[in-house]
């Protein structure tokens, strides 16, 4: 009797130890582990599937569960908690200077092609900048200029007016107002003008967008 109890205790202790080791191995491993992978570290003749069954039961309903992958085992986050690991976040970010500059030129000079924006900026405008402004919903493709290469013309959207608190494009301050606000220095060449932006329907020199434009947003023709 006493011997039997001792045996049982010993058996229990060995099993618990095996469980601890299997737990640690499965936790630390970079990939699911097979029966052989585990057996190397366990006591001689350990019954791996039986141990796995115990572990699986112990973790049932917890945040982490033991799962079987083929003939291997691994710990995974409980499936119903998967949403925790995929989160959607809205991040408010300040517009980069390049984007601000491009946006402001499009606002004043619209309809404007990328080449025209670049002419005012004096530097090349990455496609990423325009994409970003379109993603933000402030800039849209209007049409194509009826000139060689048929470059896409860009303009601002209603969301643009909305975001910047403008009722219409005519609310964009003109030359005098910019000066008055101290944004433009008063020593400017007399010929300098601030254009009147236009966001009406297509102009005489604009064609509608090609059907492809809506999907592809491919404006390689500008660089071609």
């Amino acid at each position: 009797m006493a011997d039997e109890t001792l045996d049982e205790v010993e058996h229990y202790e060995i099993a618990e130890r095996n469980l601890r080791i299997a737990e640690a191995l499965l936790f630390a491993s970079a990939e699911p582990l097979s029966r052989d992978d585990l057996a190397t570290y366990l006591s001689e003749g350990a019954d791996v599937p039986a141990l796995m069954a115990v572990l699986e039961e112990r973790y049932a309903g917890r945040g982490v569960t033991l799962v079987r992958r083929g003939d291997k085992w691994a710990f995974r986050t409980a499936e119903d908690l998967g949403f925790l690991l995929r989160r959607e976040e809205q991040e408010t970010r300040a517009l980069s200077r390049a984007a601000l500059e491009t946006l402001s030129i499009i606002a004043y000079h619209q309809p404007a092609t990328r080449a025209e924006v670049e002419e005012v900026r004096g530097v090349q405008t990455g496609k990423g900048t325009l994409d970003l402004l379109m993603e933000a919903g402030w800039v849209k493709m209007r049409g194509r200029r009826r000139t060689p290469g048929r470059p896409v013309t860009y303009g601002t959207t209603d969301a643009f007016l909305d975001h910047f608190g403008l009722e219409t494009l005519a609310d964009l301050p003109g030359l005098e107002e910019l000066k008055g606000a101290g944004l433009l220095s008063s020593r400017l060449p007399p010929a300098m003008q601030v254009p009147l932006p236009f966001d009406g329907p297509l102009r005489d020199d604009e064609d509608p967008l090609d059907p492809d434009d809506i999907f592809g947003e491919d404006d390689t023709e500008e660089t071609a």
Binding site: A24, F27, A28, S29, A30, E31, A74, F75, R76, T77, L84, L85, R86, R87, E88, E89, Q90, E91, T92, R93, A94, L95, R97, A99, L100, E101, L103, S104, I105, A107, Y108, V120, R121, G122, L132, E135, A136, W138, H163, F164, G165, L166, L172, P173, L175, E176, L178, A181, L183, L184, S185, L188, P189, P190, A191, M192, Q193, V194
Partner: protein, 222 residues
Amino acid sequence: MDLAHISILALAEQYLSFIETVREKRIEIAADYLVMAAWLAYLKSRLMVPQAPSDEEPSGEMMAALLQFRLKRLEAMRHAANQLMNRPRLGLQVYQRGMPEPITVQRTNLWEASLYDLLKAYATQRERSIPQDYQLFERTVWSLQEARDILKRLIGESMDWVPLDAYLSQYLTTPEQRVTAMASSFASSLELVRQGHVELRQTLAFGPLLLRRRPGDRKDET
């Protein structure tokens, strides 16, 4: 080795002879070793020469005690470093999750910019595009003759009273032009009145100046 019981004097002797042998072998000696050697040589001299009562320097014994303290402290730090390294360290005896399930955050950006930022960006660029080299300030002035020609062309056949501003509106885009156009055309209009080509009328003070072709005047007459 118990540092508390070593003879500082013996240590100094030992170290100095070590430096001497190294020097004989013409091996580059690190500056730190030389500083230590110099310091120990000084300490040795302090320990050997009895302290003069007027001496303000720390006694040899004090310096020796300080050296002993520093050696003990360094030894303690070395021992501590060993103990640290012998702890169950992450990635050596203790492991983190081998298959981390990273939290993937789908970020959608809400872009933020103020109207001021926008206008500032525009103004800055326009100013940047102005050639920086000095240019002679070119004054756009309407000569009286120029103003007279333009005025006559503007008035044309009209027999209605029209404010001078309205005629000139297409020239009044820049403030410089506004000033010169107003001045020159007003002067010209007075001249035209004197010659009997046009009539000028102002119904109230600071009111608009009204202008029309004088009835009976022939257009081609100058």
